[in-house]
Symmetry: C2
Subunit: 341 residues, 2 copies
DNA sequence: AGCCTTAGTGGGAGCGCTCCCACACCCTCA
DNA sequence: TGAGGGTGTGGGAGCGCTCCCACTAAGGCT
């Protein structure tokens, strides 16, 4: 059944059926304006009658393109895959691609070997473009992409100076709003648990915290109130313990991720403090964890699905136009109020 | 830069460089045994020197295959995407595919239009095989796949009679173990909150519950102790309320999903009951929610990543051998004990 | 009327592979 | 010594498209 000639109609057969040439059928399929209405109608009828579907491989070979983009997920993040954050981004990407006939390739990069292989993929132009999630500051992939002139869009950026196109959330603004909210609720001693300082996103959230502290006219951002975490639950616990030692009088904590907030809450409870009556708590990301914490965690939501959509849209634009104009998009965040503050 | 001839070496160029014919190079690349060691070495050297990477499109066109498989995610489940369950499955699939040069295509099916389009994809043989997650009983896709003789593997099955290849977890055994554990801890009145009865997985978990109840020599599975949920948190709340009305003396609940367990716990707390002292609680899936509930939820873990790996492996086998031998794999589950029982 | 444009069209050439036939070449055996 | 089998090999013929050149027909201008 699966023989050499599978009986599927080809463009040539459509042409015969429609009584036109191969070129005309190709033009109709690709939406060229240089086709008469009569020919177009005939071709469309023939396509419908025959149930013709273009052969992707032939198209790719002849056209020197692939109609496929890769979504690259580096190893350290494959865990994060479980987060609504990622899945929403992917949903967004999928939604944006639905009307296209771009294919979405999922690519995990775990080992240096896989990284090298992916480099070859790129060099061999097996995809028309690349979507990169959660890039680290020292990730060489974006530079490789740029060098190969391969259209690419990052989710987040590596630094202020990011040159490759990216779509990011307003981390500074989100953090600022969260901390401002704590002050507005009458909290005075607002601490923060940061992400790893070598991650741009972590620095942004810390900046937001500092801005809010300053705006509140508080005694300036005392460095005693800043503890370093690493975006993990355990890191959140460690940082919280540290903060309680340094400043037992803390009455609010802004954690730069929900997971760290969860860790912090455990430590707070162990120390006999109630949330929110003794210490208010705000997280970042608005993940499932936030909703299911006790009390439910107030957190900063990023427009994740929209970010995914935007990433895809931006990439498609970059692929469409040959020239490589970089695009930088920053989407606003929103504070989701629950019971922890 | 991206011109017609991109300067990438072709198989022909490799042949010239190695001083052999095109056919020989092809044979080396495809691992044919009918090549002399001398020729093989020469070709491999030439490939390395030139940095040759086969052109996928040309290969697909000439070989009538695609070296790609699709992972299909139907709409109602795109939300579940956020669950570790899915992401682990995908991770497993990715891991298994890493050593292959199979590509993984992500395909969401949201609308009937998209479903139709995907049918065309299949008919046009744009993929070599299909991985299907969370199929519903009335899902026509598996039958379509079978009819098209397209290799396919389901995650879970539609019924006992499932004919298409599948990889499933031992839902019956997992549920049985969970409920047996409740009895072993001295609970007497063990209720269950089921999934929707039109889902095979829900029926399996209910079966497991019944088996354990019978084995415990309890007064048989009183239908009073079985409440119907729908795998959602709200469904869990509703079912729990119902159970408390029918049997206020319940001292344990087995929820067929963690999300329903979370809903149940809320209702239990509202009714003034403590978990686990008054009522013990067990979930299913071992999701992030389970770990972050208060108290942490004892739950049945499925070997999700292993399921993903197995799905990919089975699919690759099915693609490799032309004949369509169906494979049915059931992997064991494990009770993860936490604080809710 | 003659010329130039433009819209619309057909089909050759080629994209880079795999498949497979034909052809050496070597060894065996009678 | 010759027929009969392997092995290993080269290269023609496609796979189904897109690109582009050549061509026709219909109009617009002087």
């Amino acid at each position: 059944m699966n023989g050499r000639h599978s009986g599927r109609p080809t463009l040539e057969e459509v042409a015969v059926r429609a009584g036109v040439g191969r070129g005309t059928v190709s033009r109709v399929i690709n939406g060229s304006p240089r086709v008469s209405d009569r020919a177009k109608a005939a071709v469309e009828a023939a396509i419908a009658e025959l149930g013709y579907v273009p052969n992707r491989a032939a198209r790719a070979l002849a056209g020197n393109r692939t109609d496929a983009i890769a979504l690259v997920i580096p190893e350290p993040e494959t865990r994060l895959f479980a987060e609504p954050y990622f899945s929403d981004i992917i949903r967004g990407i999928g939604a944006e691609l639905a009307d296209t006939d771009m294919q979405l390739l999922l690519t995990f990069i775990r080992t240096p070997k896989e990284r090298a292989r992916f480099g070859q993929y790129l060099a061999a132009h097996r995809v028309d473009g690349v979507l990169l999630v959660s890039v680290h500051e020292d990730d060489p992939l974006p530079d490789l992409l740029e060098q190969l002139e391969m259209p690419a869009v990052l989710n987040g950026r590596r630094s202020d100076l990011e040159s490759v196109s990216y779509v990011d959330a307003d981390n500074v603004g989100g953090a600022r709003a969260a901390v401002a909210h704590l002050f507005a609720r009458g909290r005075r001693t607002v601490a923060t648990i940061t992400g790893p300082p070598d991650m741009y996103v972590a620095r942004c959230r810390l900046d937001g915290y500092r801005q809010a502290v300053e705006a509140a006219g508080s005694a300036g951002a005392s460095s005693e109130l800043v503890a370093r975490g690493d975006f993990t639950e355990e890191g959140g616990r460690r940082a919280m313990r540290e903060l309680l030692v340094r400043r037992p009088d803390i009455d609010a904590v802004f954690a730069a991720s929900d997971l760290m907030a969860a860790g912090a809450r455990q430590v707070l409870r162990e120390s006999g403090r109630q949330v929110p009556s003794d210490v208010a708590l705000v997280g970042f990301e608005d993940s499932a964890i936030a909703r299911h914490m006790d009390p439910a965690l107030t957190s900063v939501r990023q427009p994740t699905e929209e970010m995914g959509r935007t990433m895809a849209r931006v990439l498609l634009e970059e692929i469409a136009e040959r020239a490589s104009v970089r695009r930088h998009v920053v989407l606003t965040t929103e504070l989701v109020q629950r019971d922890s503050v």
